[in-house]
Symmetry: none
Subunit: 215 residues, 4 copies
């Protein structure tokens, strides 16, 4: 499904300006949530006038939805690329884990926004945008699990849908644990202060956990 919450003039500005605006908005919304986010600050940080912001977006909500849509699409792209590379099942899982570790670090704000987004506030509008991605993710996982079952890599007595759900749950919380301050602290508490210095160990343990669960 295609959504468009920006106005005509937004399509006509340079990619560079678009990115400045999106980036500025993502950060502000990720750090402050929808209500506390300040459009005037977003405009200033993006070096754009408030007036222009209202030429590009009808109101705060539409800017938010544009930003959510953008973020969600970006998250989906990464996943799609990995799955489409047609590796064997556990290589794919491993790639996803590594991608989460890498990506959550470089684009923290996007994951923060995703966490913020799941909050009750305005969730109905947000869901309209995100349902698409969640649906695709659900199907992708279920289908590669099913394929792995057919290939004899994953055991047959488990339900592919439920496994997909639990798998994604592990991934979502891994993402948060690498991006959001609260979950970062929580991870340190579960393992130790230096856990972020050893991504490979985390990846290895999670892979082991998942392998056990599915084989």
């Amino acid at each position: 499904m295609e959504f468009k919450y920006s106005k005509e003039p937004f399509d006509r500005i340079s990619e560079e300006k678009k990115n400045r605006i999106l980036h500025s908005a993502i950060t502000e919304f990720a750090d402050n949530g929808f209500d506390s986010a300040n459009i005037n600050k977003i405009a200033k940080k993006a070096d754009v006038s408030v007036g222009s912001m209202y030429k590009y977006f009808t109101n705060k909500k539409d800017l938010y939805l544009t930003v959510v849509d953008f973020s969600v699409k970006k998250l989906r792209t990464v996943l799609n690329d990995i799955i489409n590379s047609q590796d064997d099942f556990f290589s794919t899982i491993e790639k996803i884990i590594k991608a989460i570790q890498l990506y959550s670090r470089s684009d923290e704000a996007l994951t923060k926004l995703y966490n913020e987004m799941t909050t009750e506030n305005n969730y109905e509008l947000v869901w309209k945008i995100a349902s698409d991605m969640e649906g695709i993710t659900a199907n992708l996982y279920a289908s590669i699990i099913k394929k792995a079952q057919n290939d004899g890599i994953v055991r047959k007595d488990i339900d592919s849908k439920y496994s997909a759900f639990f798998l994604d749950n592990l991934f979502v919380l891994l993402q948060f644990s690498y991006s959001c301050e609260y979950y970062k602290k929580r991870l340190k508490m579960f393992i130790d202060e230096n856990v972020f210095d050893n991504d490979d160990l985390v990846a290895k343990e999670l892979l082991k956990f998942i392998k056990g669960a599915l084989c």
Copy 2:
């Protein structure tokens, strides 16, 4: 650690009034987040004057922290009770899953608040309160896993800390999936529209997933 963000007079009012206020506040904060929550509305819903609210709490933030502290303590209590009942490992896990399903339904708002709380906004203050609970949870899980390893129920080649972390991740997202609108929809998308009519199946599948991962 003990925290107290309420003022003296709050201790002196009837339990019933206290509950009215806490409940009203939890709901408002859970649904709107810290910034959009409206103290005047909280007061009205609790049938208390704004003036009184400020007799009980120094300001909005302290009301929020009181509510967070209350919620976090309540969540911890449930878990503690289950673990202290000294069942065998997988009975304990099963009980926890069932408790999450039951509890997340009856006290939706508390879990919503927990989700809302992990957001970047004000996380520093919140962490002071929650770190306690997260630490206890981390240790509890790690120690029952270790015990289960010694008892030969859980395999020896896994790390108890990491397993505890992944286990809790599965539980946290299960909680959210039974309480928060966004995650509820997501769960339906992964399984199907009627997933909430069959708690036992969800529990069974999750238990199977965990058993596989740990044995």
Copy 3:
């Protein structure tokens, strides 16, 4: 003229309690002005319940007026005592100066209140109370000056009323300069940092100034 801004029950409480209330109120009004003064704080400082305060005084304004009336009467008493002691003119003037120096130090709050009182806020009610004192002061000064003229101590070509006015102006600002923070700093700026260590010099110079003006 006699005023009464307190209610019946205030007359019946012990002198000690009355003083506690008046003292607490004078300080609060002197330090914060009418509007910022906080009745609840006044009550607490006086160790009296707010409820009682409203048994004693109809409202904040009446408490203020009671306090103003009390302060003004006390100021008048000091002056009256000195003038009635029937010394010669310049001994009287000297005694007044010394009294101001002494009194303004021990009862700072009363003078602060007097300064605060002359502010536009509520001046009409205040004037009703203070006019009495100001009138008496005006007459007292004018009459002792006139007497001093008749006695040949003060020169004949000056107007007793105007002299009384200028004399009192010097006294009022001396009072403020010994009580109110702003005027204290100002005095230090005119003379030097240690001016308050040498009351006799200040007194001597002022007396010299006045003698010159009137003889």
Copy 4:
């Protein structure tokens, strides 16, 4: 010392608008004091939105300080101009008296504000601004007195600093007596109801008083 309590945008608006705001604020603060002054009323009286007020000034306090700074500077200017006109000593004194009479009538609010400012409330902030003016005043008076002593116009046995102080006290209270309601009534009480119809007489008597004191 230079102070700036207004924000950038305030510098950019028209002189006319600036004056409207300053005038409205001076009046409101002079009449009600800092605490009771109502920013919304100031804005309305100045025909400016509240929002704009907060674009121009960080908060109520800064608006107050801007207004105090403005008033104090204006008062100083008048005095400086007179003293710099290089008349002989008593012509200068006479000019000052006449200026006070004239100026206090046309700009009542400024003097009211000065009186209000000396009150305990917020005096620390205010003093930072006013100390400059008071210091300059103190030095100016002391130096013209000293010069007059050298010129043989003022007698040598008096201290120039103390004389400057007493002189300024007489002037300050004259100012108040021409501007502030309380002090106006007081002046009428000392002289008579019609005292304000005969400025020349007041000036003459005060000059006589001062001449006596200093010669």
